[in-house]
């Protein structure tokens, strides 16, 4: 009879963990939608200038906001230069150096690269350059995908506080910040509008260091 009972009644695996959420309050809008557009147009021109055209160039946006910024650059290059630059998206989660120390496993996003990157000029696009650790992870991820001729870095905002010897080739705007602040890049596709906002942690911050 016992054999015919279908599911064993069991409690779940009882392993639920709850974590407090970080709270941020908006402090100032530093870039408007118009500012963002002008900055990206300038960067698009710089990309063409520095690479003497767009031959062999691939844009790779770092998940998640970098993906949308790369798509904007691709459109601007298509209008300006009449060239369709292959554009992909790169998720660096699995390459993070803090993965075993975070309390929660970070969510993975898609990686999709339009062609073999070996021998190509890969232009990485990210929203904010901060410690440099994301870019370090991205360089490792790229190494696993192929061997590009060179890699260049576009960031919309450089907020300082580098922890690794990494610099961007194209910088939208340098914004001095304190460590207790957060620079939020918003894109219409995910956030409803284009803007860059500085936020501050509510209740102050224990490791706050002035820039």
């Amino acid at each position: 009879m016992g054999e015919r009972l279908f599911f064993m009644t069991k409690k779940g695996d009882g392993d639920v963990t709850a974590k407090p959420e970080k709270k941020w309050s908006e402090k100032a809008t530093v870039l408007s939608a118009g500012d963002m557009e002008r900055i990206l147009r300038r960067i698009a021109v710089e990309i063409v200038e520095r690479n003497k055209g767009l031959e062999n160039v691939i844009l790779l946006g770092i998940q998640r906001r970098g993906v949308y910024l790369a798509a904007r650059l691709r459109e601007m290059l298509r209008e300006g230069e009449k060239v369709k630059v292959p554009t992909g998206e790169l998720d660096i989660t699995l390459y993070r150096d803090d993965i075993s120390t975070l309390s929660d496993q970070p969510v993975v996003h898609s990686t999709s690269v339009p062609c073999d990157i070996s021998g190509k000029r890969v232009i990485l696009v990210d929203d904010v350059l901060f410690t440099g650790r994301t870019v370090r992870a991205a360089l490792d991820a790229i190494t696993d995908l192929g061997r590009p001729e060179r890699v260049q870095l576009v960031v919309l905002v450089d907020r300082g506080h580098r922890e690794l010897p990494i610099a961007a080739d194209y910088v939208g705007k340098t914004i001095p910040t304190s460590r207790s602040e957060n620079v939020e890049v918003r894109v219409t596709e995910l956030d409803g509008n284009d803007s860059v906002v500085i936020c501050e942690r509510i209740g102050g911050d224990e490791d706050g260091v002035e820039a």
Partner: protein, 308 residues
């Protein structure tokens, strides 16, 4: 979404949102398998022990590959030649695993409830059920769900027939749970001697006639039939079983135009599935195997990472 499960013993405690989230994560993991270098450092320094007290090739190697792609160190501990065959108790096995600082333990055992027992005893390691007796095989259900979703899109409202020896099948138990949770309507078919008694209370219907059960379905799932069932007198003969409940071209032709044929493997060709169906255009059996690696990568990644 914050992942809240440390172990996978059964899918019972998973919500539909968690299942959907899990399948999305699996999709990103699958991309890694297309790369020239199939290795990422995500689980560097983690130790996963495969403890198989029952034979397995695909599940064990699938967990092994999944762990290795994510850079975990995977150790295989099989029952033959292990301390279990020398009479070690399960309790002592647990202390041994703990002492070896295992971060993850993948366990398959002939007895129901062993993974649950290990999960309760092991303080640090995550435990993954790779099949316990006739109770459950949750990672198989996850890879079946994933494969079906990749082929059919949103599964809400889809219709599925599970055909064969449901009574002895841990795969059927886990699949019914998982597919129903995703909004799939499930019909069972097979000899009445191989059906559980409480089908209605499981929210599934039972139809003896396989042709009626398969008719218009989007997913035809054929279970492995063990030859011993004939010796036990539970099926008339292999030939008759094949004619009445086996995956034949004529049975599959009754399903919906987009239907997929699934099987958990290993297959008995000519018994529960005809070669023409197994190798035919509707078959997604090899996709299931591939999905298995991606699903186990997502599982190891989500449950082993982070500080707990």
């Amino acid at each position: 979404m914050e992942w809240r499960h440390k172990n996978l013993i059964s899918l019972e405690g998973w919500t539909r949102e968690e299942l959907s989230f899990f399948l999305d994560q699996t999709e990103y993991m699958e991309e890694l398998l297309n790369r020239p270098i199939k290795k990422v450092p995500a689980l560097r320094g983690k130790i996963v022990v495969n403890c198989f007290f029952e034979n397995s090739t695909r599940t064990r190697s699938s967990f092994e590959i999944a762990g290795k792609v994510l850079s975990a160190d995977v150790i295989n501990w099989s029952s033959s030649g292990s301390s279990a065959s020398k009479g070690e108790t399960l309790r002592d096995t647990v202390w041994t695993l703990e002492a070896m600082a295992a971060d993850g333990v993948v366990v398959r055992h002939g007895e129901v409830g062993v993974p649950d027992y290990l999960a309760k005893k092991l303080k640090k390691a995550s435990v993954f059920n790779a099949g316990d007796g006739t109770n459950g095989h949750p990672t198989q259900a996850l890879l079946d769900l994933y494969t079906a979703r990749q082929k059919l899109g949103n599964l809400e409202g889809a219709r599925m027939a599970i055909i064969g020896d449901v009574l002895h099948s841990r795969v059927a138990r886990s699949d019914i749970q998982a597919f129903r949770k995703m909004g799939v309507h499930v019909t069972l078919s097979g000899p009445a001697t191989l059906m559980p008694e409480n089908t209605a209370s499981l929210g599934v219907e039972y139809v003896s006639d396989a042709r009626e059960a398969a008719s218009g379905k989007d997913i035809l799932y054929f279970l492995r039939m063990q030859r011993e069932r004939q010796e036990d007198g539970l099926i008339p003969s292999i030939d008759e079983y094949h004619r009445r409940w086996g995956a034949t071209d004529s049975l599959v032709s009754l399903a919906s135009p987009r239907a997929v044929v699934m099987h958990p493997g290993p297959m008995n060709r000519g018994m529960e599935i005809a070669s023409s169906v197994a190798d035919g255009p509707r078959s997604v059996i090899l996709e299931q195997v591939r999905s298995g690696v991606a699903v186990r990568m997502a599982l190891l990644y989500l449950c082993l990472g982070g500080v707990r």
